[in-house]
């Protein structure tokens, strides 16, 4: 049954609990104001962390270091596999090592502007502030960032900024930062402060008297379902753009942890804000399992163009430069190829839709390095981007040193996620959400090289302090026994879902349903949306979901490794989330950042915000599957940044 969106109910307003005071010293002052847990008392607290990416591993390591008893769960065989490992380009920090005018305030300003004025000022300022410490910490851990010949750190520039503030380790920055955090975690595991459960998936959280008190998890090898209680639960489980089926996310990325927390009362904020990354390799065929991102850093030296003539069948090298349309350079002279991701993506879509797409399926644009190779030499390009070029060649069979790369936008990072306050706590006390899993710092569009920054900021420098403020008054409070009725009930619910999925015995595989859902979401709630397309999605998703629950085929049993069963649980959550994404997109009658409503655009095709009506975070409360959710608004106040139409011209 489709949700009736004509008359959505609005609940109470949300308070982000931003402390009062001067923006520049807000976080420092607040650290003093927060309650502390005496070092000897920290070991009396149990904290559960779900996920071991940048946010989860750094948070668990730091809390272990502080003295808390930390239990970490990852569904991977090792924490080192988390998808943060795949981030290529870099991490921002306002160090101003290049003396090009960077500052904490400028990073703050660029991030708020890049996010199209949809993020909380205080959070973003804090992020920019601790970015300095992140680099110090990572270097001290031995992260081998790129260096200048003098031995000091090198930087490069990224989309949405006019300064060079991005630190990088070849095209493997995420890998190196994750390994740093993982190693810090390994140190605490060895010290006995952190207990790690690998190959274990969170299936639900347990709430007693309105507080998060534990989790129910499943051992992926034995199928055993166990309960764990704690004084606080931290979700660090990443984003959900795999709802689109084809995305740049790893195959196992999912929404289960945050979605099940949502069903237990946590509000889901801005679900429709999905970043579509401009530089992925275009899909080739139906069997395609995922899309591969080519780092945004390539836009530093690569020039993006399409032929000026539609259906130009010539090889790219045969097209003379005056017959090429370098559309970003012409349309946005100030930022050129380094416009933010939403702008670059929409412009690529516009060219392809207009019939100027390149490649065998006419579904891409060129990213051309010929000029850079001529200017800097092949060696310089190899040093900067060699592994990315190699990866492109492996996948497409084409040599990007000789022919331009073909790129097209793909679902990438989700700015939406569980709503959290300034302390990174959700509206359910005791449930903290960090990294991509929360909604907080990127607004409606994330600037490149900021995801790694947020994951580590939350994990190393924010949560370990704010969680103390929550725990301090709970000193002496016993853990809720895992025999408590609430744990029994949640375990029963979880068991029921697994038994149901194994017993449907239908005709179609989980992947088939996932692909179909992905098509609906991409076509109707993708790079651009309209009232009409969203209504269409809202009628098709519930129908397909019902079919899934009556016709899915999951073979095997629950007592050994069973990837189909794991996927079935995740895809069933994607169905419910996809519906909420469309409800949110339909309710936001404006365009902003990654949310582009066709009805709301300027004369030259840019996103047009409606600051009067929509200057708020839309946080949705679940009323059960198939029922209209309740909207809670957190009004966004801008005291430091003036809201203007974004321009990169």
């Amino acid at each position: 049954m489709a949700i009736d969106t004509s008359n959505l109910t609005t609940g109470g307003a949300l308070d982000g609990k931003v402390p009062q005071g001067d923006l520049a010293s807000l976080w420092t002052d607040h650290q003093f104001d927060m309650k502390l847990v005496n070092p000897n008392n920290k070991r009396k607290f149990e904290v559960i962390v779900i996920g071991t990416g940048l946010a989860g591993a750094s948070a668990a390591a730091t809390m272990g270091e502080l003295g808390y008893n930390v239990t970490v769960f990852t569904f991977h065989d090792s924490p080192r596999r988390a998808h943060s490992i795949a981030a290529q380009g870099g991490i921002n920090a306002a160090k101003n090592y290049q003396n090009d005018g960077d500052s904490i305030y400028r990073l703050f300003y660029d991030t708020v502007k890049g996010g199209d004025y949809c993020s909380r000022e205080a959070n973003v300022y804090r992020l920019a502030e601790v970015s300095l410490e992140i680099i110090d910490q990572a270097v001290a851990q031995g992260v081998p960032f790129a260096r200048e010949y003098g031995g000091l750190l090198a930087n490069r520039s990224f989309g949405g900024a006019q300064v060079s503030r991005t630190f990088y380790a070849r095209g493997q920055t995420g890998q190196q930062l994750l390994l740093g955090a993982y190693q810090a975690l390994a140190r605490q595991i060895d010290a006995g402060k952190v207990t790690l459960h690998n190959r274990t998936e969170l299936l639900d959280i347990v709430v007693v008297d309105g507080r998060a008190v534990g989790v129910v998890v499943r051992d992926l090898l034995t199928g055993e379902i166990t309960s764990h209680s704690a004084h606080a639960v931290v979700l660090a489980t990443g984003g959900y753009s795999n709802a689109f089926y084809l995305s740049t996310n790893a195959m196992k990325c999912n929404a289960t942890a945050i979605w099940r927390a949502h069903r237990r009362g946590a509000y889901f904020a801005n679900p429709c804000f999905t970043q579509i990354h401009p530089t992925a390799i275009p899909p080739s065929e139906e069997f395609q399992s995922k899309l591969t991102l080519m780092s945004e850093s390539l836009r530093n030296d690569g020039r993006i163009w399409v032929p000026r003539e539609a259906d130009d069948g010539r090889a790219p090298r045969d097209i003379p430069s005056d017959e090429r349309y370098y559309y970003l350079e012409e349309r946005y002279p100030a930022f050129g190829n380094l416009v933010p991701r939403d702008v670059a993506s929409r412009n690529a879509k516009e060219r392809v839709d207009a019939g100027y797409g390149v490649g065998p399926r006419e579904n891409g644009v060129y990213l051309d390095f010929a000029d850079a190779i001529e200017r800097l030499g092949t060696d310089a390009i190899t040093e900067k981007y060699g592994n990315l070029f190699e990866m492109y060649e492996r996948i497409t069979g084409e040599d990007p040193y000789k022919v331009p790369m073909r790129i097209y936008p793909a679902p990438h990072y989700t700015m939406g996620g569980l709503w959290v306050d300034y302390h990174l706590m959700s509206n359910v006390p005791g449930l903290f959400v960090i990294g991509e899993a929360n909604f907080s710092d990127h607004g409606a569009n994330r600037l490149g090289a900021s995801a790694l920054m947020q994951g580590l900021a939350d994990g190393y420098f924010v949560l370990p302090y704010t969680i103390g403020n929550y725990l301090a008054p709970l000193l002496g409070e016993p853990l809720v026994d895992t025999d408590h009725d609430a744990f029994t009930q949640v375990t029963k619910d979880v068991r029921g879902r697994i038994d149901h999925l194994l017993s449907v015995g239908g005709t179609r595989s989980v992947d088939w349903f996932h692909r179909e859902l992905g098509k609906i979401l991409w076509d109707y709630c993708g790079m651009s949306r309209s009232e009409e397309s969203l209504k269409k999605a809202l009628s098709e998703i519930p129908a397909l979901r019902e079919e899934f629950h009556s016709d899915v085929r999951v073979l095997g049993d629950d007592a050994s490794l069973n990837e189909s069963l794991e996927k079935a649980g995740r895809v069933s959550d994607f169905f419910e989330l996809a519906e909420l994404m469309c409800v949110d997109a339909l309710d936001r009658n404006e365009s902003c950042g990654a949310h582009f409503r066709e009805e709301y655009q300027t004369e030259d095709g840019e996103a047009r915000r409606d600051d009067e009506e929509y200057r708020y975070v839309a946080a949705w409360e679940s009323n059960g599957v198939g029922n209209a959710p309740t909207l809670h608004k957190e009004q966004l106040e801008y005291e430091h940044v003036e809201l203007v139409q974004r321009s990169y011209k």
Binding site: S78, R81, Q137, G142, P144, Q175, A186, S289, M391, S509
Partner: protein, 248 residues
Amino acid sequence: MKLTLHVWRQPGPGDKGRFETYEIDDVSEDMSFLEMLDVLNERLISEGTEPIQFEHDCREGICGSCGMMINGQAHGPQRGTAACQLHMRHYSDGDEITIEPWRSAGFPVIKDLVVDRSAFDRIIEAGGYVSVPTGSAPDANLIPVAKETAERAMDAATCIGCGACVAACPNGAAQLFTAAKVSHLNMLPQGAPERLERVADMVDTMEQFFGSCTNMAECEAACPKGISIDFIAMMNRDYLRAKFQSRR
């Protein structure tokens, strides 16, 4: 193209495994090797056969999850490539392909092509880190690192922990993995104070799980990141020094 696959099927760690043969005839050259297995699995599901379990995640050659012996070679025939980045354009119509899990005592089989690589985590826990508490680090530019040193450390640090080195080694040794991890940190000034203790602890832990290195260099040939066995020499040198020093 049409292929004949001989795939190792093993229901669980305690079960006896066997090869099953599958014919597959709709393989496109643009598919990755894992996508080819996806297509086969879709067909198996529709026939009511449990799909082949294999480990995979990022499919971008970086997470290190995937890994299988393809015609006796770790990650297949293309050098410097993880199985997820191997594409079917390297095969021809009518080819027969044998697919097995990593074979090593250090990596027990869990199911089908999935093995347990957690011994690698034990090696890291033994000392594969710099002991630096959060928040106490000096400014990042305070300790210069020569570009060349940073580059060499990065060469070692690119290890994805896939275990191909172990699988390719006739002795089931994990020297290349351990050496990459040891050398990355030992080369940098940040890792220098713990240099000897690190190498001793990590090598001793490694030896609890894996076989001995006899310098066959198969690991280097199989490594999808092209990590050099020079790092093994570096590790051995540090290890000897650590052992001599502890005798004094």
